[in-house]
Symmetry: D3
Amino acid sequence: MPRTLVTELTDGQSLDQSFRLADKQIRVNRQGGKYLLLKLADRSGTIVAMMWNADDSDYEKIRRGGYVHCVGRTQVHQGALQVILTAIDDLAETEVDPSDFDQFDAGAADQALATLRDMIENLHNVYLRGLGKAFLSDESFISKLRLGTAAVSNHHAYPGGLLRHTVDLMEVCQFLGPRYPGVDTELLMFGAFLHDLGKIEEISASGELSYTDRGQLVGHIVIGVQMLGDAIAAFEEDADEDFPNDLRLQLEHLIVSHHGQLEFGSPRLPATLEAIALHHIDNLDAKITSFTSLIESDLTNNENWTNYHPSIGRKLWKKQ
Amino acid sequence: MPRTLVTELTDGQSLDQSFRLADKQIRVNRQGGKYLLLKLADRSGTIVAMMWNADDSDYEKIRRGGYVHCVGRTQVHQGALQVILTAIDDLAETEVDPSDFDQFDAGAADQALATLRDMIENLHNVYLRGLGKAFLSDESFISKLRLGTAAVSNHHAYPGGLLRHTVDLMEVCQFLGPRYPGVDTELLMFGAFLHDLGKIEEISASGELSYTDRGQLVGHIVIGVQMLGDAIAAFEEDADEDFPNDLRLQLEHLIVSHHGQLEFGSPRLPATLEAIALHHIDNLDAKITSFTSLIESDLTNNENWTNYHPSIGRKLWKKQ
Amino acid sequence: MPRTLVTELTDGQSLDQSFRLADKQIRVNRQGGKYLLLKLADRSGTIVAMMWNADDSDYEKIRRGGYVHCVGRTQVHQGALQVILTAIDDLAETEVDPSDFDQFDAGAADQALATLRDMIENLHNVYLRGLGKAFLSDESFISKLRLGTAAVSNHHAYPGGLLRHTVDLMEVCQFLGPRYPGVDTELLMFGAFLHDLGKIEEISASGELSYTDRGQLVGHIVIGVQMLGDAIAAFEEDADEDFPNDLRLQLEHLIVSHHGQLEFGSPRLPATLEAIALHHIDNLDAKITSFTSLIESDLTNNENWTNYHPSIGRKLWKKQ
Amino acid sequence: MPRTLVTELTDGQSLDQSFRLADKQIRVNRQGGKYLLLKLADRSGTIVAMMWNADDSDYEKIRRGGYVHCVGRTQVHQGALQVILTAIDDLAETEVDPSDFDQFDAGAADQALATLRDMIENLHNVYLRGLGKAFLSDESFISKLRLGTAAVSNHHAYPGGLLRHTVDLMEVCQFLGPRYPGVDTELLMFGAFLHDLGKIEEISASGELSYTDRGQLVGHIVIGVQMLGDAIAAFEEDADEDFPNDLRLQLEHLIVSHHGQLEFGSPRLPATLEAIALHHIDNLDAKITSFTSLIESDLTNNENWTNYHPSIGRKLWKKQ
Amino acid sequence: MPRTLVTELTDGQSLDQSFRLADKQIRVNRQGGKYLLLKLADRSGTIVAMMWNADDSDYEKIRRGGYVHCVGRTQVHQGALQVILTAIDDLAETEVDPSDFDQFDAGAADQALATLRDMIENLHNVYLRGLGKAFLSDESFISKLRLGTAAVSNHHAYPGGLLRHTVDLMEVCQFLGPRYPGVDTELLMFGAFLHDLGKIEEISASGELSYTDRGQLVGHIVIGVQMLGDAIAAFEEDADEDFPNDLRLQLEHLIVSHHGQLEFGSPRLPATLEAIALHHIDNLDAKITSFTSLIESDLTNNENWTNYHPSIGRKLWKKQ
Amino acid sequence: MPRTLVTELTDGQSLDQSFRLADKQIRVNRQGGKYLLLKLADRSGTIVAMMWNADDSDYEKIRRGGYVHCVGRTQVHQGALQVILTAIDDLAETEVDPSDFDQFDAGAADQALATLRDMIENLHNVYLRGLGKAFLSDESFISKLRLGTAAVSNHHAYPGGLLRHTVDLMEVCQFLGPRYPGVDTELLMFGAFLHDLGKIEEISASGELSYTDRGQLVGHIVIGVQMLGDAIAAFEEDADEDFPNDLRLQLEHLIVSHHGQLEFGSPRLPATLEAIALHHIDNLDAKITSFTSLIESDLTNNENWTNYHPSIGRKLWKKQ
């Protein structure tokens, strides 16, 4: 029997399959009985599960971060899907198909990386091309970039999401730039490449997505400027030539202003054509991607509308 | 001697050429002397002019809306360029080159209209294609659309600007739509076609650009919905078939929500993927176009920065 | 034993009476037992009820939308009143008193309609009077208006509430208009008549109050303008005379601007004396009515103050 | 030749009549010549005037606060009407008609006072009636109330304006109160009486309207509470009976919350039905009165629209 | 066995000790069983407790406001610590150590009072010193001030907290005042003394902290001005001399403006150097104290960060 | 005759003294006459001057940036003081007293630097002390810090102002830190040292104060983080030891969050006790200093109130 992905589970469905055990806790209910409170995961997502009338041995025999075989049934509780288990057992890593649990799509990442390398190598501006190579020749950077996520929740919130978002923006910049005479398309594309790189250090993409201390204390915008500074130093050492100061300031400005407004965390407002363009292209991609995911993940069945989402202050229309 | 366009005038420049007389007034200065206060125009823009020590015959001999020959010199007064005239004379229409004064670029408009017709005729959705033809077969609509402006000031504020902005958006939609699986590209393109049509009735594009009473009392968003209603009625009569209600609601929603937020005058927030996409594509084009025009029209010479613009809360960087 | 209305139920009260079954669901609790989750209604309101240890036959024997006889007891759970049932049975429509369940007060509606007809017929402005008659002679419109609600929750949220709110506003306009010399009282009264008519199509008042697709995608303000357009067309056809354009624009403006500010969903700000007056009179009636209902429906017994209401950012004082 | 009132002056009008000299200054222009900069007033308003080529004797012969005879001509300068004088002379008080210069309409004030006394004396609530009499029997209070203004600019900004606004509100409260069952009409009316009394001490209504130090440091809301405290003390001494504490708190609350929102200077939000009603009735009267005055004082001749007013963020429509 | 303070309880801890019974309720659970819902308190704080399978005699034998002996175990439920009891018994007042339950630290209060008296007596300004003595010689005022709280929750929310906050501010003012030449240090210190005195009447500090009717209807800012008025009257009677009016206005202004902005409840903006200083010094003390308490009371164990606090829109970093 | 400082000039004052010529322009007036438009400066400030009826030789004989001797008279024009010149002559540098023109107070700067060195050297935390020395041993940094300004206008807007503001904050931190148990006083003091250092590169303090390109494109907050990174690199190279990562993050956070809110340009909100304290201490010093300077520079003579300042939304009270 093939597994059903977490995101494809529906209300009232019987389950008899494997999961990754993202978290386990043992709790005492109001009548004094013990139960397990678990988080079950696969590559598509995470779901909460409970097993009533459990005892300490049930808790001990399963490993946080390991794999489990579960028997039970889904139900909707307060608007969210959860699983009520009747049995759970530990599984060895050899007993599962790793592709069921690896959220990261290596093929897609490699393809995106190839596209990225291609765009960087085809830049005519020698400083941008050289600086791009300084980034791309850094193995440690590349391996983090491949796995990076663009967010903890909301849009592109999965390993590989950052790369996908970055390359998408660069392609849109490549199309839109030449439509506006005053815009330097290569500078705009390079801004798209740089704009969210700080997220590599802001969000820990191994295990559960979460913000790092550095991410919370400093934020990806300032981290991105720091990473740019390191790459420019590497370029200058390698090229034995100063990187042009005006170009550096424009690149820093593209990172620093890409949220578009102070209240969204940009310490400076976009003040160049490329900066205003980058902000709006980023916003466009983020908003469409995020609305798509809200519509796709909506569970309300017999309605034309999703639930109300406070973060966007509205319901969305689901057309057939 | 060829004319210098209004937008190409600089400080301290001698003038000896023709203008359109957009406005004329006679005033008394603090010492009791009379002077002329004029607005001189050509296809590129408008400039204020004064002639000191004028008398009533100077005022009488020139016609508001007619052409004049001017001798004088430019100067910057309180940050704006103006002209101090030493002589002014009436010119017959036959004495000027009409192409100097016609702000409207008929060739560009015809090309844009052809592109628009092409995009409409290539739609696969029969209702959208039929509805598009209902608009395009309305001679009166087409002649207004050709001359329409997208704004009184700011971006695309010239006869033909509305059509330019509309076709630009439709082309961007054609490129971006297919990148997002959930988006109906034809619906999005049609939304781009419709979104600002109400401006035809909101802004009077003959003579000085100005808002109509209907424009100020009702606004282009509601007018656009009214125009859509008329076109649907025309389609239904012609096709002898009802226009699908769901499709109508989605088109109305695209118009109604395209400003993106209530405080920008949209009575509803974007609630479909196409609506959120249209808003951001519109915003992107408007912002880049408007920033470009602020940079191009900036007069400060020896600075890397434009003046401070309160409407956007910043100065813009002018790169060489 | 007479029924106790839903809104008059208090904590810890025994129940043995009829309800309308607004909704029924069967659920499984954490220990695997089944229970019924129900919504019980009468003309005064709706209350949630649970019956523990139920089985499928309990669920099958009662009809959603039908009537039931309930035995049980009320309790406060997380600040809201609910009912715990010990027995439930189906009731035939003949076994209940319909007046207990009909939220709509037909007598009050007819009286309000009569007042409305009276005010319309006494208008001196022939165009407004004629347009009013075009509305009032439309049977389908009248039957929807009689049952319409002014909101899904908050003020006047019941069938007939729209008519009540409309006629109330018109009477206040009739009193206040003449106190302000510049105000056209008849125009103001007609604006009050029109301002919320779009809610007839925005909110479905049959069964549970809920927004229609049209309501959510287009909104009552734009719908109201569309309804006005249809009525003007009817007037013109009937009178064989054009409706004055300036008057039409003013009426459209009254609808379009009556929320008073862009961020409250008005695409235009009030720009005529009648528009600013209508907005404030509407606001006054809505606020007093809504505060009254918050005070009346408050359950906290031994306090001078209601609960904190986030929507208005405060508690209200309940005087004895 | 009868005088033309200041507010009825139009552009390009010859003048040969009396004014009150509200202010006089002598200035040196850029060419070293001296000129007079004056403020001319009558009961309807104030206008700026200049007399070029003046000398010290011109300046000396006229008295600030006295009367002058002026010959000259009006003109619009930067959107505002001003007068260019060719002659000016001192006038004795006996040479003018005082009714031309007295902005205060004593008859209207007496009539409003009579209405006020009548409403207070007809209150059924003995405490409110008694407290009202404590105010009305204070000669010093009455003489200030008669002359008080409701604002320095904007609505009701003239001696007598406060009384007019107060009595108007009380009458509206008398009509609206009984329409809302939960509202205590007499309490609401008394709140209307009290709400702006602090303005008597906040604004100096003698000569040019201006804020007092106390007005700017403490504000009319807190001053109003202080005045209420004094009147209650007077009542208690007179009646030899305590004023009920709950009633006192409600009256204080009506004053304190009548601006409706913290950001408009109310330290508490309206939390009683009377308080929310009073705020909206006050707002309604203030807004209609202020918009009326903006329309009436607009100078733009050949337009359907007033100038843009930044304080309300819009132009207003002037219908014929 | 020594008691563990409420604030020192941790998850999964066994309990066998005394508490004050702040509240008791008997409830019926979903299976029809009864349980007790209690609030247990000591001087450090309050915690919710439940005893399952209780009966009416359990409920009857314990007294609200009395003392109880409890046996049970703590657990975290939905992020908050609670206690599940297995036994509860009534305790006589003689069986507990009162110092465990008295939240008020009398020694600290007396010390703070002494500091306050000292600072007042050392003022050189005779009016401020005299006015301060008028306050300090009022026994009833002093006994309320000793016990007053600065807030219902958030910073300094305990009996004695108001005095602590007041004296702290005065000391900071004493240090900072002389650093700024234009600042009148004694006036600033006296403003710090006055600024929150109205909280004595705004918040009831006996039993559970809660707002009084007067507090909610009028607010501590206006109450503070009233208290100042009474003290000035006392001073004038005692000294047989008028208190200087300018000084009175400045003191009133310090109270009235100390929240710094209208939207934070100050009806006037700070307009003197002392007022702007007082606002910022108050804000500084309140913010540091409140952030400290959020960090100290955080329960999340194995994290560097507290929970997200919506009131401040962030998590806080907990360093080791 | 001793010079009168620019800031001590009053209306109607005769002048016969030296100035630095900050700027010179020659203009043509409306009657065709030429005049000089000048900026005259000394150490206290700058004032605009005009000389009517000038010719090209007047313009040529004086040097921008040089010194001039002026004869003329002050006058108030549109609320600002200006000078009307009757004569102007070039002065050699040897003819003026340099101390009249040097805005920078070298003695005060040296004293502040000594205080700063002292505080750094007395830090107990070896990393902070070492890092501080890395800054202080950088000659180029010190010479810029000595002359740096904290703003282009508003508070501390003069060469040396940055150092003054920095040392002031550190002293306040030294006093306040120990009052709050959770606060690390040395970390707080070091944050005060760092917080505005980026202004050294943001604002060009030579000649007229103005923002650099780097300042406008990147901003002092991000520049400050870059400077900290360089100093840490210098420390690590010198000490041959890694700077602790947690400490680095906290220092970066102090810089990044010190504006306190996103909308004031901080990309992160203060999340440590030291960060929230630093923000409020900075704000306190900036606000008192800026209000003091608004009061001191106010020209309105016979009023208790300054002009209205839109930037702070109020007038300020000037006490005698």
